[in-house]
């Protein structure tokens, strides 16, 4: 009896992704609806009420300027939180062992969880996009760039969520990173403003924030405006994905947090 073949890997991958999608779809009131409502409030308060007084941003209506950033905000937080909570939950209830005793390789486990997170990130992203149509006309400058950037960003944060889930030992551990790192980085990542508004020193500091490049590249795909070269954003996101995947695979191969 030999191991799995490529077709079997595909079946295993589809199984994990389907399980993940059904998981968040089953509890859509907790997973999909809240970010949509929150973002709608952002549109009303920041875009509508306050935005009217702010005027234009980089030549665009403020509401139009924040739409790409808010979509990315939803994609980032949902991709991350889906994987971190699902992976930690499977450790906590020990049903991660269902996969660990099976011949499915760690690389497929990672990809399964990640694409489950991507599915939620993109579902919420699309829902937010649809809500945004009530406030701002759909603006697509380069659909290819938009799609690839949002997909890569979602993969990146799903991987980060998985690593968080590997190390997490309590439910507090899965809330710390999103609350104290992810949310501040996202808010300071140019969602609500162009970094050209910042003093030079803070512009330099902002450039250390990887989320800035993702929001900027996505905004380019939507509005055609960017603060940084597109290639630079792609390179940074690709680099992060490669590093995070390598870290995740190493952790699972070593059994960190999942094997004694």
């Amino acid at each position: 009896m030999s191991g799995l073949h490529l077709r079997d890997y595909w079946t295993a991958f589809r199984t994990i992704v389907t399980k993940e999608v059904l998981r968040f779809a089953r509890i859509w009131v907790q997973t999909v609806l809240p970010p949509v409502i929150t973002t709608a409030l952002y549109f009303i308060i920041f875009g509508g009420l306050i935005g009217e007084r702010i005027g234009d941003m980089e030549g665009y209506r403020y509401m139009d300027f924040i739409v790409p950033g808010l979509i990315m905000l939803a994609v980032i937080t949902n991709s991350y939180s889906n994987v971190v909570s699902s992976f930690f939950g499977s450790k906590f209830q020990r049903h991660i062992e269902e996969m660990l005793v099976s011949p499915v390789p760690n690389s497929v486990i990672i990809l399964g969880f990640v694409f489950g997170g991507v599915a939620r990130g993109l579902s919420v992203g699309v829902a937010v996009l649809l809500v945004s149509l009530f406030f701002s006309p759909l603006s697509i400058h380069n659909p290819g760039v938009m799609l690839v950037i949002v997909l890569m960003t979602s993969i990146l944060f799903a991987l980060a969520g998985l690593i968080n889930g590997v190390f997490a030992r309590t439910f507090d551990d899965i809330a710390i990173v999103p609350t104290f790192i992810l949310t501040p980085l996202t808010y300071l990542g140019g969602v609500f403003y162009s970094i050209s508004l910042l003093p030079e020193f803070w512009q330099g500091v902002s450039m250390l924030n990887p989320i800035l490049y993702m929001v900027d590249a996505f905004r380019y795909g939507s509005l055609g405006h960017s603060d940084f070269p597109l290639a630079m954003s792609f390179a940074i996101i690709s680099g992060f994905i490669a590093v995070l995947y390598g870290v995740a695979l190493t952790l699972l191969n070593r059994g960190v947090g999942i094997r004694s």
Binding site: K19, H95, V101, R259
Partner: protein, 315 residues
């Protein structure tokens, strides 16, 4: 014939320095129904954890149907189905999906997975519950769910860690019947249990592990033959007028209507009844005071005498 399981020099030392396994050797013949017994903390679950790759070993080799755990892990995993001691499924998932997903991890396409799921859930009386969330099942149903899940990829070796813990007697008997049936179909089974009656009824071979070492590995028949003394409880028809003073039988009165008799190995029950008859004692019914295997187990493990104090050797 290639053994279903072959363990050589298996050691496990946890990060906190606890030496759970101190170099165990174990061989399980293909098709056998094998009991792995031992007190809590003896190393049973660590051994099972290593075989199923949930725990990393410190030293030694493990082979399942000739496949080496280190060099052929995927084949080892395909050969094993595990029913763990604790419930380890998603409580918020329908039970049909739990079984079908498990099949998917082994590369079994969804349609075929549902066919197998239907077969095993029917066998275990759970098919009608397939759409119910796992959290709504009773303890016994959850155990049966884990058995269905462990069998869905048709493993050649089924490992059950305390499968009937918390299961009522009727259900336990039906699970025994089911396990006996799948064993007679050729599937090898390794069982750990605290119900020693269960091991005695089901298993033909047995290993006893204690303090990280295998202290006995033999057939159930041979092991039980080593029992030096059995205590029989005699329920009387009427109170005895006195106990017979015969050195051949050790009798003592428990209460007005009950006696206990120690029967030595090799001694015939006829001797006991002859003495009782001569004393005019009428016996209504008779039973073993305790499970025979349980008696041996307590004497052999660290709760009782050291194995060296008994006339027990390895076979």
């Amino acid at each position: 014939m290639t053994p279903a399981l072959e363990i050589r020099g298996l050691k496990k030392t946890y990060k906190n320095g606890f030496e759970a396994l101190k170099g165990i050797d174990l061989e399980v013949a293909p098709g056998s129904f094998f009991a792995l017994l031992g007190p809590n903390g003896a190393g049973k679950s660590t051994t099972i954890g290593i075989i199923t790759s949930l725990i990393n070993k410190t030293a030694g080799t493990v082979k399942v149907f000739g496949h080496d755990l280190d060099s052929d892990l995927q084949a080892v995993k395909r050969s094993i189905g595990l029913v763990p001691q604790e419930f380890n499924f998603n409580n918020f998932e329908p039970i049909g999906e739990i079984v079908v997903n498990q099949a998917g991890y082994y590369g079994i396409p969804r349609r075929e997975a549902w066919e197998r799921c239907e077969h095993y859930l029917h066998e275990l009386g759970l098919w009608e519950k397939r759409k119910d969330m796992a959290r709504t099942l009773s303890g016994g149903m959850k155990r049966r769910l884990m058995i269905a899940r462990a069998l869905v990829h048709e493993p050649r070796l089924l490992i059950l860690d305390e499968p009937t813990a918390g299961v009522d007697i009727e259900l336990r008997r039906s699970m025994w019947d089911f396990l006996t049936r799948i064993n007679s179909d050729g599937r090898s089974i390794i069982l750990t249990t605290h119900y020693l009656e269960e091991a005695e009824s089901l298993c033909r071979n047995i290993a006893i592990i204690d303090d990280g070492r295998i202290i006995e590995n033999t057939t159930m028949k041979r092991l039980l033959a080593k029992l030096e003394t059995e205590t029989m409880v005699l329920d009387l028809s009427e109170p005895p007028k006195g106990l017979p003073d015969d050195a051949a039988v050790a009798l003592r009165q428990v209460d007005e209507m009950t006696l206990e008799a120690d029967i030595q190995r090799g001694q015939h029950l006829n001797d006991l009844f002859r003495v009782l008859d001569q004393a005019g004692i009428r016996v209504q019914s008779m039973r073993n005071k305790s499970n025979r295997l349980e008696e041996l187990f307590i004497r052999m493990t660290r709760n009782g005498l050291e194995p060296s104090h008994l006339t027990l050797g390895k076979h």
